[in-house]
Symmetry: D2
């Protein structure tokens, strides 16, 4: 039966949920508490303040909602928009597709700008769309910063630049689920109006927290947004912020302590060092992929994600079989190929609180699985390429 | 500063979050896992099956949603109703009020049947309402099984009986947040169409799971329910049930293991024994309250809740001061009085995985606090009354 | 079968192992580490320094040995004495008896000064013994500070005074297993030469650490002590202290972190406050015992222990039955009567990291058990007496 | 300051303490309990029975002592021998040296049979020694099964064969600290009289348990063994075994549950599979060492240890620098070279609950460190060699 594990640690390299460091596991190892005691608001205040640092915003208002990334999406949309509002949304992979599906089902009016899976958002089409929208009918731009399916990162600075160039007032809503805390992300500098992430990704926690920051402009939009909402309504949060009790309903005590611990770890390492580490591990992964003679699903170097690498396999190999064997034979969890790239890619998630040797163990595992499925890999080649780079760059 | 604790354990007697047993804390003490591995669906299947036993349903379909009780409410409403649908809702305390607020903001059309706070649902008015609705315009009845604010339990069997008597087809939606797993609850027998609870109450887990069961009639209603929804949409769950992967988005791995552990504990003790224990602890609490010369906020014995006791304090005493002192001086967490009964009641939550001596420690603490605030309690009187009963009835 | 537990927390009121606070459980929730890395010596140094504060010594040298209290006894004796050395040892209960048994089997020559069980060390006989020993043949005085069997505390200051009065150079070896960290203990002021405790008592940790401090005079004795020893040899520790690696063999990484956490808790509360809390809880317990009409096994008030209360039961009642029922019916762990007082006393341990309401729950449980076994207790009487005192004295 | 850690998991590859699996960490995550309740003896009985399976003995009597391997040594010696007894002891590395030091300081009369460090026990000299001892003055043979310093395993079957050949009645005392549970070990078949291990090695637990099994012949020797002992005295254990309470003094509750969990894991995997896994990981490590152009400290293939590999470094490289950098730069804990091989070897521990990818991460780390210190390693070479073997042999 499959509900069993072998000896040793599971090697968790899906692009989320990410590995939880022992310090965070420890912090969450506790009984419940009364969230209405004086202790919890005191701690909550530090969390809200510190979460903003991860988003690189000083003007934003943070919301920590007991939900997942999918719920955070819904929260971003329904608090800033009204049914029928026109949205421009970029479709570049499975997660942008799911968000667009949500946007549709929440009754917005979507202009989808499609790219091939493996490409970033098509900014030329976007520019034309903005240029054409002289009446400013477009109320929001929805973009996934890091598309986890294909390992493609979108250029938010360029998106902002175009909005500015066309002096377009649309809100900029960013899914940073697999980027914030892992990749360079600058909410204020890039004029992001709503940015969101969830706890089980770069923050290396269990699932259960959707974390958002809203710009002053987004809070202004909140006043007139007519989307039906209750659980996700920021107004309730804002009311409780004023009361100083912070929570309109019961938060997870354990996740609050876990968030405190993970933020402490990030600040201790230094957020910029955390981002540099992600960059280093991603580069090492890509060097390994190249050494294996395989291709990155992301088609251009500028689009390569530092959070996850989607690896294309040759046509005669089923990437699903790679993922299955990795789990069963090596206790290695890799990411599946989804939808259009199902069977064609497997994914190595390298986000969150991990280090070089964890990644190298994963890469060695991938090499063995590749050989298992008949791909003529030279064993050690990927690890060698990664090591050569890491040995020179680890601080 | 208030963000600090004294020696020894916190005595957690708010009516949720409840105490988490060590076995459940241990089960959750783990790293993340890939929720797309074969292991998680295998476990999920056992959880969905076993959750139904707690609801006493065989025909219901369970949903375990990463949210809170508030989210579970929203899920129950939006999956079965359409905007403008007429609902009968009973207002008997703060949580029924909040649910009604949600019903309003989700654009339903509410007939509120009010009771004084301290009374159960007014079934006479309800009977007239049903009698008058010969056109069957009422689509749903919303009722809180156990009103946590006042410690009042509603008679669901009587509600069902009236619906049957008038052959009324309205859906029966029940908030069982503070009842299911603590009080006698019989989804199938009482013809409940949607029942819901959340993890941090009688299930003695952290916050983070909204758990619902939907009757076949509720699933039929799902097909035509036009309420806008995405995160809470059961259709996505049902789709993934068919696929055998179960989760439309990432669940909390830790809570899955925690739920497994807490269900195992309940089945080991025996669900009926669990309910009998709640009854025993509640009776003991009420005997203590009477011995102190204080009154139960619930006005009739048949309404007394076995999950929480709301205690009325004399007019010259501020119940908030009782709660504050209990926390600060005795590390005892009691429930505040809310809204209409703010300052007038404090609450002793006795739901979840606790035992007699835990409760007696709490009762002793309450006695001391009562004396602290100037109420002329006879020290030991409540504990004595509780002990006399428990000593005879503990198995 | 007996290897099972009921719902709720176990109420642990044996006089050790004591309750472990959540903070300490969390601190120990970790993988192993290399004890030869730079991190462990750095932490060890802080532990050795801070342990001295608990013993109230500045001139003593601490040893933290992976063993139990029994091993700590052996370490104290074999490092300071030679086979055949004459020792004066006080026999006042089971633990002093066991230590004397050890002293015999380790080939020392023991003068036993006996007291009735329930009495403290006979200092008159001791004075005569010292007076008679003009040749200073007595090499060491062995005394249990707090005799856990009978709840009797010995007056160490008086022992020191007699030694000084007779200008007797004997070493003063003190078993502080159930006292240090709970009762007033002053190693330097009282001229104690070896003091010892173990981790699972007042320090509220798991079993596994014997902790000793040795005075300069004890270290001088070490140079010539011919007792055969290896595992317990302080010389190996001192050698590794000089090397700065601290551990002659592998320590428990988990217990090191646990000790760090428990010391932090003690210093945060304040050692004197910790001792005052023990005094308060003990006084409350004794008031309850008196209210029940029962007697303390300790025969004089000046001997009453603040760490454990041994309660005498009437002749027709078997105290073993009390302990058995408490465990089985109420999940309450009380201490058995041992040896001479088997069947005659049960014991309430109130040492370690606990608070008032935990104790009151225990006292309520004892009342019910007393009634269960047919003792005509007035239910609530003990709790009332304890509450009346605590309500006035809790800070 | 050095008392700090980087991101990600520590890679623990010292030859003990070994990695603790999550299941065991969870099992130990608990409050204390009364070791005199009915529950603990019930569990203890299963532990004593199951520990024998790990030693492959049915006739042996197990002892679980709250101590370390050093204490277990002392327990083995003092319970079976008398001061002045003649012992034959094999010196082949630092741990056999330490044991011999203990044997001396406990006043036995030692015939040391030395080998070069890197060689196994010299059985030719042993044969001559036995041949010469026609009067059977030799009371015991002390041998370290697996010498952790040099990664050399001794041939116990051959030792037994010689004893049988010369019909020599000496007791065979075996240090199995780094072998039992990792290497093939057969107490009964090899006629071992006392075998011992400790919890932090192959059993993958924290330090704190010395575990021994004694043959009927060893228990016979116990009757007349005059070595002074108390803490380590088996007679006290046997007395408590008869009483059915099992513990002469307080055990660590947490370690009992940890042992239960680790034994369950071993039996689930299958002891023979556990041993095969150790063999596989060791072989992979040796292939990597060879690929790096380095030599095993163990001089012959038949002596290679499957628990730890000691790697010789070229004369111009200081192995201490390798260990330091591995820790500091890669969060990799390797074993130091000790005593005669200090600076000359570093050690890779591959015992306990680990798997292939964990090891490969370590090997990749070693490659990078080798390059860091100027050794001309071909990056990837060791990993490639290990992968080529593992890919074919992992079940």
């Amino acid at each position: 039966m499959d509900y069993a594990y072998g000896p040793g640690r599971n090697h968790l390299f899906v692009p989320g949920p990410a590995n939880i460091p022992e310090q965070v596991i420890r912090a969450m190892n506790r009984n419940n508490e009364d969230h209405r005691s004086p202790a919890i608001p005191t701690m909550t205040k530090t969390l809200l303040d510190d979460v903003k640092k991860i988003f690189k915003t000083t003007s934003g208002t943070p919301f920590i909602i007991p939900t997942t990334g999918t719920g955070a999406w819904e929260s971003a949309l329904t608090n800033t928009l009204s049914p029928g509002d026109r949205i421009v949304s970029f479709l570049i992979g499975q997660f942008s597709l799911l968000w667009i599906d949500q946007q549709r089902r929440l009754n917005f009016n979507i202009d989808v700008i499609q790219s091939d899976w493996g490409q970033a958002a098509n900014l030329e089409v976007f520019a034309s769309t903005l240029a054409a929208d002289t009446g400013h009918n477009i109320k929001a731009i929805c973009i996934v910063h890091n598309e986890t399916t294909t390992g493609v990162v979108n250029n938010l600075a360029a998106v902002r630049k175009l909005l500015d160039q066309y002096q377009h007032p649309a809100l900029l809503l960013v899914d940073g689920v697999s980027s914030i805390g892992a990749l360079d992300f600058r909410m204020d500098e890039w004029g992001v109006d709503v940015a969101l992430t969830s706890s089980q990704k770069a923050l290396s926690m269990p699932t259960g927290m959707g974390i958002l920051c809203a710009s002053p402009k987004a809070l202004e939009a909140l006043k007139t947004a007519k989307s039906v909402r209750f659980f996700f309504d920021w107004k309730d949060y804002l009311k409780f912020y004023e009361l100083g009790t912070f929570w309109p309903y019961t938060p997870s005590i354990q996740l609050l302590y876990g968030l405190r611990a993970t933020l402490d770890l990030i600040f201790e390492e230094g957020l910029d060092n955390v981002i540099a580490r992600h960059s280093r591990l991603a580069k090492a992964t890509r060097l390994a992929v190249a050494a294996w003679g395989l291709k990155n699903c992301a088609q251009k170097e500028e689009w390569y994600s530092d959070a996850v690498t989607a690896v294309l396999v040759p046509p005669h190999i089923d990437s699903l079989e790679i993922v299955r064997r990795a789990w069963k034979k090596y206790n290695l969890s890799l990411g599946l190929g989804l939808n259009k790239v199902a069977g064609k890619v497997f994914r190595i998630g390298h986000l969150g609180n991990i280090n070089e040797l964890q990644l190298l163990g994963c890469l060695a595992g991938v090499e063995m699985v590749l050989m298992d499925v008949g791909y003529p890999v030279k064993l050690g080649s990927g690890v060698a390429a990664a090591c050569a780079y890491l040995q020179n760059t680890v601080p």
